[in-house]
């Protein structure tokens, strides 16, 4: 699938990864434009239902990123998020949903380069995995 351009949604926290992605921009580092960011106050705020909604709406991949452990602006939101993801990932895998489509990461406000790298690598991986046709077929009945 050479000219497949994946759609990737990034759910990021305001304090670390959003700022880190700002730094990527300020440093003029380049990355793949297939990724768009939705800002949350904290990874703790990110409801797993939103990930399902993103896939249901046609996302081929998802990035969820926040502050490194112990660096959470709210001290522990990311720890709660981490537990939620451990369970959610296990469940997705159990249901036969390819968890390689959801990339979790910690990107701090200082890690502009890491953000660019993360986006590029994730886009590349999703491109290799191809469109998330299996999930998108579920939309068959035209509800979204």
């Amino acid at each position: 699938m050479p000219d497949f351009q994946p759609k990737i949604v990034a759910f990021v926290c305001n304090w670390c990864t959003y700022a880190g992605a700002d730094l990527t921009g300020t440093s003029r580092m380049k990355y793949s434009p297939q990724v768009s960011i939705i800002r949350f106050p904290c990874t703790g705020r990110i409801d797993f239902m939103l990930l399902l909604k993103a896939f249901a709406s046609g996302a081929d991949g998802i990035i969820v990123s926040g502050c490194h452990p112990n660096d959470c602006h709210y001290s522990s939101g990311n720890f709660h998020a981490r537990r939620r993801w451990i369970i959610f990932r296990g469940l997705l895998d159990f249901l036969g949903i390819d968890v390689r489509r959801v990339q979790f990461s910690w990107v701090s406000a200082a890690e502009g380069a890491k953000w660019a790298q993360l986006v590029n690598e994730t886009s590349e991986r999703i491109r290799e995995l191809g469109p998330f046709a299996g999930y998108q077929r579920l939309r068959g009945l035209g509800v979204g």
Binding site: W15, A21, T24, S36, I37, L50, H73
Partner: protein, 671 residues
């Protein structure tokens, strides 16, 4: 029906160079609910803002999306502009098409497409925004200053002189920090202690300053204007109110051979000690690790001879709780120690020392009373090699940055050596000389021209010992990188300035961010250099990055000014981006079922139990309630709530749900 205005900024060429802004404006105009869509060269300029304000008035806009830079930059600007027209400021959102789009992608359709996606997403969000009212919170006008080095001292004095109470916490038994260890200071060569100690005394005597020395921050909770700090006062084993500082105990203590911290390990101190004669407070502390009594249960000599019976062997650490409105972090730096340079024999050869140790050798209050004598045999060194950039600018050693102070202090060391040892031969190995500062370049020139310090441009490869000499293998890159060997008597490494041990833990206690090298991060590298990302917590001195004394003092005064500005008001206005629990009319009252999973998830203990009672006082149900004063708006509770009864203002279910759908092009059906 929503009437949204979309304002697309070119940011000069920052956006328009890679994003077709006209196309974005045209696409935005077609989004249902968008009543107005324009692009302009500088939206943040006065005419740009006027454009927004006029449109709000003329088109009766119910929401505004400014597609420009990061909300971290201009969100306040445009929200204020909206407020001036009477539009609730929280009905304005920024679509970040600069940092997250134009700057990170090449020019092309995909980039413009993405900019349109971002705009559509934020339009979808703003349609679900609600008018919000700011929250007023009171301010406790007491400042907590952490760290009693020159930065902490300066900040404390400035805040105290502005009329506010200060609590100064210092980890060591005395305030003074690294500056008190220095011999002379560049570029004036005035005595460090002579200029520092008056300030230390002023701290001790200031009516507005409470000093907790030998104490550490245990925890910090709360938020700007309303922090609660717990401070651990470590047991000095002494009743400070009784101790007169006579010094008898320190003179008589039988355990005397402990390498002293103040002398950087070069001098010895007793087990009960005052770090240095001018210490503030001038009260000793018992080092329980080395004290004979604590080790063997016998001795108690100090107790017997103390004229005021001030010794308290059974003293325990004490936790003090204080309420403060602002925090200044001034915990300073450390230098790299230990087995860090095996090729230079640092840590192996006693005569390979670091810069701080040289300060003590050169200091009149030091172990050699200011005579330069090498540690191994007390000989006056005839040849001294000073090595700059020892670990700084050295990615292989994990430190990429310049430590900033070494060029200057190395020049100072070489000069002091020449002044004290006539005929001594000082060599300085350097990579570059960074002497940007008032009278700094002149100072380095003086070292070369007047004091005959020989500068060799190159980094040394190795130091090894041979026949009582230290053989330094270097090369002069100005002479064809010709290798050379210098037989030195003393080698002084300007080891890298690094963050304090424990900096990471402190940052975590304070919820401030820190960089890869564990220096605390300022809110903005240029424009907010003394603030942290956590409101109400400010930075001063070398805990943020290596700094010399004038810079530390300047930043400390800056932080103090910020604190004073904060304390100039009795109430603060906070953004109302906080969680709320759903309330409904009887008989439902709330969709909350009171499972209180949110309560254990909340990092701020902001969730309370509210009992809903009938008119007869009968308990109908117990539901969650968010204390708006405590909630910081992380939203962790929101994601836990199965009944979706908690929502967070500004990032509500409806808002983020709409964003996800809109981003993926499917928002329109929902609109």
């Amino acid at each position: 029906m929503a009437r949204i205005g979309v304002f697309i900024c070119h940011c000069g060429e920052n956006i328009s160079a890679t994003v077709d802004v006209k196309q974005v404006a045209a696409a935005a105009a077609r989004i249902p609910g968008v009543a107005h869509s324009v692009e302009y060269k500088y939206m943040c300029s006065d005419p740009g803002q006027q454009l927004v304000k006029d449109a709000i008035r003329e088109k009766g806009l119910t929401g505004v999306v400014v597609a420009a830079c990061s909300p971290r930059m201009h969100e306040p600007t445009f929200r204020r502009a909206c407020a001036e027209t009477g539009l609730n400021p929280f009905l304005c959102e920024m679509a970040n098409i600069r940092e997250h789009c134009s700057w990170v992608h090449e020019k092309g359709d995909a980039t413009t497409e993405k900019a349109i996606d971002i705009v559509r997403t934020l339009v979808a969000k703003v349609k679900k925004n609600k008018a919000l009212q700011p929250i007023q919170v009171p301010v406790t006008k007491v400042a907590l200053v952490i760290g009693g080095g020159i930065a902490g001292i300066q900040a404390s004095l400035d805040i105290a002189n502005a009329g506010h109470r200060v609590i100064l916490v210092e980890r060591e038994p005395s305030i003074g920090g690294h500056m008190s260890q220095l011999s002379e200071t560049f570029p004036t060569l005035d005595c460090s202690q002579c200029i520092l100690t008056p300030r230390m005394v002023e701290v001790a005597q200031h009516p507005n300053i409470t000093l907790y020395s030998y104490a550490e921050l245990e925890s910090l909770d709360g938020f700007i204007g309303n922090f609660k700090a717990r401070i651990r006062r470590k047991a000095r084993s002494l009743d400070e109110t009784l101790c007169t500082g006579c010094g008898l105990c320190t003179q008589k203590c039988p355990t005397r051979k402990i390498p002293g911290e103040f002398d950087a390990g070069l001098g010895l101190r007793p087990a009960i000690y005052v770090p240095f004669p001018q210490a503030v407070p001038n009260k000793p502390v018992i080092d329980r690790e080395h004290c004979t009594y604590y080790r063997t249960g016998k001795c108690r000599l100090c107790e017997k001879i103390c004229p005021t019976q001030a010794i308290r062997f059974d003293q325990l650490d004490e936790i003090v709780e204080v309420e403060v409105g602002a925090v200044v972090v001034a915990t300073g730096f450390d230098i790299k120690h230990g087995d860090f340079f095996p090729e230079y024999g640092y840590g192996k050869y006693p005569d390979v020392i670091d810069g701080l140790q040289f300060e003590r050798l050169a200091s009149a209050s030091g172990p050699t009373l200011g005579e330069i004598r090498r540690p191994s045999d007390g000989k006056v060194p005839e040849t001294v090699v000073f090595v700059a950039c020892a670990g700084s600018r050295d990615p292989a050693k994990g430190i990429e940055y310049c430590s900033k102070i070494c060029c200057m202090y190395t020049a100072k060391h070489a000069m002091l050596y020449r002044h004290k040892v006539h005929g001594g031969k000082p060599y300085v190995f350097y990579m570059d000389i960074r002497a940007g500062g008032k009278m700094y370049e002149e100072f380095v020139r003086r070292a070369m021209e007047e004091d005959g310090v020989q500068y060799v441009r190159g980094r040394i490869s190795r130091v090894f010992e041979r026949d009582g000499k230290l053989v330094v293998k270097g090369a002069d890159t100005l002479l064809g990188a010709r290798p050379m060997e210098i037989e030195a008597d003393l080698v002084v490494l300007a080891t890298a300035a690094v963050a304090q041990p424990g900096a990471e833990e402190l940052a975590q206690k304070l919820h401030v961010s820190y960089d890869a090298h564990r220096f605390f991060s300022e809110a903005h590298p240029k424009l907010r250099p003394v603030e942290t990302n956590t409101a109400g917590i400010f930075l001063a001195g070398a805990c943020q990055a290596p700094k010399d004394i004038p810079e530390s003092v300047a930043q400390a005064s800056g932080a103090a000014a910020k604190v004073a500005a904060l304390f100039s008001r009795s109430e603060l206005v906070r953004e109302p981006l906080i969680a709320v629990v759903d309330r409904q009319p009887p008989p439902v009252y709330s969709s909350c079922v009171g499972c209180f999973l949110c309560q254990s998830a909340c990092p701020y203990q902001a969730i309370e139990k509210e009992e809903i009672r009938g008119r007869d006082g009968q308990l109908i149900k117990t539901v969650a309630r968010v204390n708006p004063g405590l909630c910081q708006g992380c939203g962790t509770c929101v994601a836990f709530c199965r009944t979706k009864s908690i929502d967070i203002q500004g990032f509500s279910h409806e808002q983020v749900h709409a964003e996800v759908l809109a981003l993926l092009n499917r928002g329109e059906r929902d609109a």
